[in-house]
């Protein structure tokens, strides 16, 4: 059969090159693949959902099996989600797999990004791929937000309201932009179908293109590898793509699907029937977005009531936490390879990865950044935590406001020290410093000797 194809496309030589390509074997290199597989599952389950979902805000009267909503007026979109959940065989499990896959998708992207960051895999020549990756992260968050807003339920509608207000808060262009994007004053009938187009067509197109670029660049530049015996900047040590790596990856894809299938069937998620259809004058508590928007929610909750008017222009209190801080944050993240280059003056090609302990400054900054975002995410759920741990909300807010600046600094500092310490330890000695060990001396005390000394 290969001959048949080759006679028409001339691919045999090229295919052999590809199948023979070597990939290194470390487990942490599989994190990006997990994200990719989650995306594939999202596309498959998502396609199924589009066959049943109606992106239509027109009101209908519900007449289905879920009794508490029978006779209620709701959008056709919401009604279609109820129908899918209660009247279509396997509809609910498909919907839940899709939503769990979305949560795990972004989690895997973050885990992958953290690995790339701490091992310095973003350095030359991979700066472009890093920026592609950060863009993919932002698009994934956008996909999640547009996706969970499609059912037009009370919880996600509240989130849309907040998004609308965030756009309005932009000085000079805010109100115009919000009216353009949403189609008028909140709530609008048009937003559901626009979110649908974004979620089903526009964003996936960009994501698929960027994933293609991400993998293509990786293929061309070859995967990085950790330092070790026989590994140099000019080779790749590992297993060939076919058969072992392919089989492992294929197996991982199946297992990712299995994990998501189990979650989708066994753990309830986004039970929109409990929230009911969106109503602009009602709200339920607690109100949170999905976890990957939690950092934004936390920033909005923690920011103090600061709303100055400068030269007649009011700067709404939402503007800085909802627009400025994320803008700065993602820009710094995207440009990190160049920021680090400027500081370290390191413009050499790197195909060997760093051991995080060998870069204490970068690791410290990384840990500080992770703590910062984690604290913001925790702040996004401060009322839930207040309820669970019986702590007053106000105390939590103040603790987090201060902790947001103190804890990342302390965490970074500790990381720095730990890295330095690990560099000189015996457990995983870096090549420069073999470490010391303690030896009992004749007086009964201890003394330090180099760890590779004989006595």
């Amino acid at each position: 059969m290969l001959r048949w194809i080759d006679e028409r496309l001339g691919v045999a030589h090229w295919a052999r090159k590809g199948l023979r390509k070597v990939f290194p074997d470390h487990w942490s290199f599989l994190l990006g693949e997990i994200a990719l597989f989650c995306f594939i599952i999202l596309v498959l389950t998502g396609t199924y959902l589009t066959l049943f979902y109606r992106p239509d805000a027109a009101p209908v009267i519900y007449d289905g099996p879920y009794e508490p909503l029978r006779g209620r007026e709701m959008s056709a979109a919401f009604e279609s989600v109820l129908r899918l959940s209660f009247e279509v065989r396997a509809g609910l499990v498909m919907r839940q797999i899709h939503h769990w896959a979305a949560l795990v998708f972004v989690a895997a992207i973050v885990a992958h990004m953290v690995r790339v960051f701490f091992t310095g895999a973003f350095r030359k020549p991979r700066e472009i791929n890093w920026m592609v990756g950060v863009t993919l992260l932002v698009l994934a968050i956008g996909m999640g937000f547009t996706g969970y807003s499609l059912p037009d339920d009370l919880l996600s509608g509240t989130g849309l309201r907040i998004a609308y207000s965030a756009v309005i808060s932009i000085p000079f262009v805010g109100p115009y932009l919000a009216f353009l994007v949403f189609g008028g004053e909140f709530p609008t009938e048009g937003i559901i179908s626009r979110l649908f187009v974004l979620h089903v067509m526009l964003l996936p197109a960009v994501i698929i293109g960027l994933i293609g670029a991400h993998l293509g660049i990786l293929w061309r530049q070859k995967h990085t590898q950790f330092a070790g015996k026989g590994r140099t900047e000019r080779n790749v040590v590992g297993k060939s793509f076919w058969p072992q790596q392919f089989f492992k990856s294929f197996g991982l894809m199946l297992l990712t699907g299995a994990a998501l299938a189990l979650l989708g069937g066994l753990v309830q998620i986004n039970a929109v029937w409990s929230y009911g259809p969106f109503d602009a004058s009602a709200v339920s508590a607690p109100s949170q977005p999905d976890w990957y928007v939690g950092w934004l929610e936390g920033a909005i909750r923690l920011f103090p009531a600061f709303e100055p008017t400068i030269f007649g222009v009011t700067i709404p209190s939402m503007f800085i936490p909802a627009v400025v801080i994320p803008g700065i944050g993602f820009t710094v993240l995207a440009l990190w390879p160049f920021i680090e280059q400027r500081v370290t003056k390191d413009r050499v090609m790197h195909n060997i990865l760093d051991n995080p302990r060998d870069r204490p400054a970068r690791s410290a900054i990384g840990v500080g950044g992770i703590l910062y975002v984690t604290l913001l995410t925790i702040a996004g759920g401060n009322d839930v935590l207040a309820l669970t741990f019986n702590v007053p909300i106000e105390a939590m807010v103040w603790f987090l406001r201060i902790g947001l600046f103190v804890i990342p600094v302390i965490g970074g500092f500790i990381t720095y020290k730990v890295c330095k310490e690990l560099q000189s330890s015996r457990a995983r000695p870096s090549r420069r410093n073999k470490g010391t060990r303690l030896r009992r001396n004749t007086e009964g005390g201890f003394e330090e000797v180099p760890s590779d000394s004989q006595s």
Binding site: E185, S240, A261, A282, P286, S317
Partner: protein, 276 residues
């Protein structure tokens, strides 16, 4: 070979799971069973494939040398020469005109985006409340002061606009002696009934949480807290602006009516809003 049997077995488990799913799909409805069967189908095969790859394949570690990524200097120079040919680069006037035309074409193609929505105009500064509008609940029933219990809260709308998002208002009754409203609002609160816009001035969520003893309204989204007795001034949280108060009076029939629209924009602040 012992280690091998589980690899074969897992493929069989997968097939059983898939067949089970096909059968169950036709006869049953539980999402839990569907998820477990699908999990077995996918997981069984996944375990089998990985077991095959890790235990049954004797694949050596390979070293692949590669040349430097960047092309050699002459190749780069040749490409540069190819791109920067005289036929293109020497025609500076044409290049400038072409650039100008592309930019203006871009603007022309982008301008229809303005049809995506109306201009804000005055809509952020106004609601459907008008002088004399009857205050009604969601079902359209007009409200008397007695219909609001002491320490009670009700969501109301202007008559004829029930459910209208920008006009949503809460009426709260508290003991009149506890009220400490800003100057000029003495006539706005008949019999201890005060009305405020329900749209939070921070991010627009309905401020639905009322702490009756503390006389404070709490917005559940970001925990902005407003003190009702002083005219819903913010006392905690990220909201910086008080909830606009709806001036009310009692008409001859004994019903609550609005004296006018809100005197400042409702909802989240924006850059050019007019506040008193």
């Amino acid at each position: 070979m012992r280690p091998v049997r589980w690899v074969y077995a897992s493929f069989v488990v997968s097939m059983l799971g898939s067949l089970g799913l096909v059968v169950y799909y036709l006869i049953g409805e539980s999402a839990q069973v569907e998820g477990i069967l699908l999990g077995l189908a996918l997981g069984g095969m996944g375990v089998g494939v990985i077991g095959w790859a890790t235990r049954l394949m004797d694949v050596p570690t390979v070293v692949e040398e590669h040349e430097s990524l960047e092309s050699d200097d002459s190749a780069v120079a040749q490409t540069e020469d190819m791109v920067g040919q005289d036929a293109v680069t020497r025609r500076t006037m044409l290049l400038r005109l072409a650039t100008g035309a592309t930019a203006t074409l871009g603007a022309a193609l982008a301008i229809p985006a303005l049809s995506l929505g109306p201009r804000p105009g005055q809509s952020l500064e106004e609601t459907k409340w008008t002088p004399g509008a009857r205050i009604v609940d969601r079902f359209g029933s007009p409200q008397r002061p007695d219909d609001i219990p002491l320490d009670g809260i009700k969501t109301v709308f202007p008559s004829g606009f029930e459910g209208e998002a920008d006009s949503q208002t809460v009426v709260i009754k508290i003991e009149p002696e506890l009220l400490d409203l800003p100057e000029g609002r003495e006539e706005w609160a008949p019999e201890g009934c005060v009305a405020f816009s329900k749209i939070c001035t921070h991010a627009g969520c309905p401020v639905g949480l009322y702490r009756a003893e503390a006389k404070q309204l709490l917005c559940p989204c970001h925990q902005s807290t407003f003190d009702v007795t002083t005219g819903c001034t913010p006392v905690f949280g990220p909201a910086a602006r008080a909830l606009p108060q709806l001036p009310m009076e009692v008409d001859e029939a004994g019903f609550l009516v609005a004296l006018s629209d809100f005197q400042e924009p409702v909802g989240p602040s924006f850059w050019n809003m007019e506040t008193e």
